[in-house]
Point group: C2
Chain length 461, copies 2
């Protein structure tokens, strides 16, 4: 007995004949999606080009323009109903010289170089760098307790990601505040700069960048991430004696420049005004190649349209692939998209974002406007028997930054959820390359998303 | 509301008060197992030593002796009730010189070297190698159809692993016959040697070894694996013109030598005669470092006893860690263990084998004697609400080669089942090193196994 017969028999007693037939047809079609994705997908090749030939592509950079052009051509090659670039203005930040962070007064080891990366949006220290005593804190609240004691100091945020969280995104969510808001908070009390422990559960020498945000009214001060092993070292030395650190970075913001979201769609044959969006973000950090974050999500989104074409699938509803610009340090592409879509009076019946890496699929988080969410979520739960054989599940939870602004259109928002264990080994680092993305895992992700798109398109919600 | 309260409330309506309390206690203890495993496990360090400092450790090799000694000392350091070496005789096979496989008559490209590895147990070609025309087949049945046409030929088994199987072990199971039995089958018809397509869904240059078996009465002929990309090349050339190949290997079997299973146990306080076995196999192929196969399973098995000690857990039943010798090319350690255990009249209430890599846990397969299996399996299904929060499930299916012979004792046999997508990228290759094992994934595996051990120990079956 094969798995379809089994599923079929399993549901036979509770379904009417029409439903049985629909179930069998859906099971068959989803199996075919997986067969196609695992044998004819091109998404790994596309990722290879994006990561190796273009590389890191921070919004506003020449590489981000190359990524726009490459993916536009890719979409063009799929013979879609329309492909277009949607303009947006993005902040253009540049890292500058290789960062220097060094302990200058270690009593045992002399000068010690630390592995560091400026946080995105950080201002520079000035060409001469700055030197100051270090004060360690574990979180933002401790900054407020210490207050004026931080004046003219370098504040060292050393709150580790909790390794006991099974879903690493939960641990990230709890620890990321110090990276995003640490510089602003420390600046309130006159600190000169901040160092932030890299956001990973690993103990290694790789610094992780990521955005920092300056609140209105605070003096921007330089903010750099250091590797977890260096954070442990610095903390140990601080328990022994006062530590002075020299830090230097020449990062700067170069104002706003024009850029684009890249969009392609297949028009629905019956309900063209009901849009199913699949998307990822095309920009990445400048270090590394942005393979998991979020080249993977982009090529999976493109692959949905490619798989539809391969399979000769004509959707009833409009399937739109959106590659958002500037998720990492501004979300300006997404904001432009939401505004434009709202102004056109569009209805996104569903949106699926893939921005948690190209790992083995586990399912989808679902979110939506409170007025409609519970009722709509109940509907998709009915599809679980079709998705569970592929290891997929649904759970309530945030969908993704780039589609979050579509909530007001009262459709359903999904976040594609792959296995989370390895994501923060690579996230925002120089080692987020295509060599740490597994081809099958990436393809299974495309198949999982396409299966959900198929059910959304066929049944609506 | 945290997840325990949630689970607790979820089950409140259907459980009696005593059961509620037990459930809450179990949920708490399992959470504690995960906390310990994710913060205090040493299993990644042990694997690092086994893989980097000892390396490939085929049964009978000096490295296998080093692995026996290292793991015995590890177990000794845990202050168990007993640690011992169980003698067994194992076949000692050596690979010899670096293998050579080359196409000698390519019309366009001249001589072409192929990436090859002798299959384990293979005889050698003799020092001068052999040269013959190649005949391609897709499976064993085609050998029988071709019959005498294979005389004095090299038979090239080119059956690919089916990439559309979601669980890669299913695809492996279907394709492995050509590697195991191909040489014997081809030899029946007078073939001189065989080349076998490597067992992986990847297209790359890495040959995968693995055992071949010579059936009684056939003339042993040399059997070598070639990489999948080279298999594609060879197949393409064969469609264009007859292809002659030179192959040379100097592998040989050096008879039987003494070796050992490594065993340690904590005696049960109430039911010492009910044994819960956790195990992996200590031998690996000689190429690569045997990190996923099966260093991972060994260090996880050791970690069960380590975690018990860390947590001050005194089991009611006997928990025994067994590191089996010679799984890869003979299963002689396992056979010695089964015989010894049966002769002592032991009862393995349960046995859990970890031999599918150190990836993110998905659950356990379960198997057992047909007289008792269904009833016993129903019992463990009741534990799912405690395990599902950690992404674990049970399904019926084979447990593992090393514990399969314990079925006659009528306990339950489990195979630990991690995510299977990446396993055959590394399986039996030079790249199966500790760098492709993720620390968290490995630790989560130890926690998953320990959680099952805890429930087995507490409730029995």
């Amino acid at each position: 007995m094969n798995r379809f017969t089994f599923l079929f028999l399993l549901f036979f007693p509770v379904l009417g004949v029409a439903q049985e037939n629909a179930f069998a047809e859906d099971a068959f079609f989803i199996r075919k999606i997986y067969d196609e994705a695992l044998t004819r997908s091109r998404c790994y090749d596309w990722l290879n080009f994006l990561a190796r030939r273009i590389g890191g592509r921070l919004a506003g950079s020449p590489q981000s323009a190359a990524a726009v052009e490459y993916t536009r051509r890719l979409l063009d090659s799929l013979q879609l109903d329309s492909v277009w670039l949607q303009p947006c203005m993005v902040p253009y930040w540049v890292r500058g010289d290789k960062e220097q962070v060094r302990i200058v007064n270690s009593q045992k080891m002399g000068t010690i170089e630390l592995n560091a990366l400026a946080l995105g949006n950080s201002v520079g220290t000035g060409p001469m760098g700055l030197t100051a005593d270090v004060v360690e804190v574990k979180n933002l609240d401790q900054v407020d307790s210490l207050g004026e004691a931080l004046r003219n100091k370098i504040v060292f945020f050393n709150g580790p990601m909790d390794p006991t969280q099974i879903n690493t995104f939960n641990a990230y969510g709890k620890a990321a505040g110090q990276r995003v808001w640490g510089a602003s908070r420390a600046s309130r009390y006159g600190a000169l700069g901040v160092l932030v422990r890299s956001l990973t559960t690993r103990l290694d020498d790789i610094p992780h960048t990521g955005s920092t945000v300056y609140e209105d009214g605070v003096t921007p001060i330089p903010a750099l991430a250091i590797s977890t092993r260096d954070a442990e070292l610095l903390s140990r030395l601080l328990r022994e004696h006062p530590v002075r650190v020299f830090m230097r970075n020449t990062s700067q913001s170069l104002g706003e420049v024009p850029s684009f979201n890249v969009i392609g769609e297949i028009k629905g044959s019956e309900f063209p005004d009901e849009i199913i969006l699949v998307g990822g973000h095309l920009d990445s950090w400048d270090v590394g190649a942005g393979a998991h974050d979020d080249g993977a999500g982009c090529v999976q989104a493109i692959d949905i349209l490619h798989l539809a074409r391969l399979m000769g699938y004509q959707p009833k509803r409009t399937i739109r692939c959106v590659l958002f610009m500037n998720e990492e340090n501004g979300l300006r592409g997404a904001r432009a998209y939401w505004k434009w879509s709202d102004e056109k009076g569009e209805f996104h019946m569903a949106a699926i974002e893939s921005d948690r890496g190209g790992f083995t699929p586990r399912g989808f988080t679902a979110d939506g406007h409170e007025e409609v969410f519970n009722e709509k979520f109940r509907k998709v739960i009915d599809w679980l028997p079709l998705l569970e054989p592929y290891g997929l599940n649904f759970r309530k939870g945030g969908s993704g930054a780039d589609i979050s602004g579509l909530k007001s259109q009262k459709g359903l928002l999904f976040g594609f959820e792959p296995d989370s264990q390895r994501y923060f080994d690579y996230h925002h680092t120089p080692i987020d390359g295509v060599d740490v993305v597994n081809k099958r895992e990436l393809e299974l992700g495309a198949a999982a998303i396409m299966s959900l798109v198929y059910l959304l398109d066929k049944y609506g919600i």
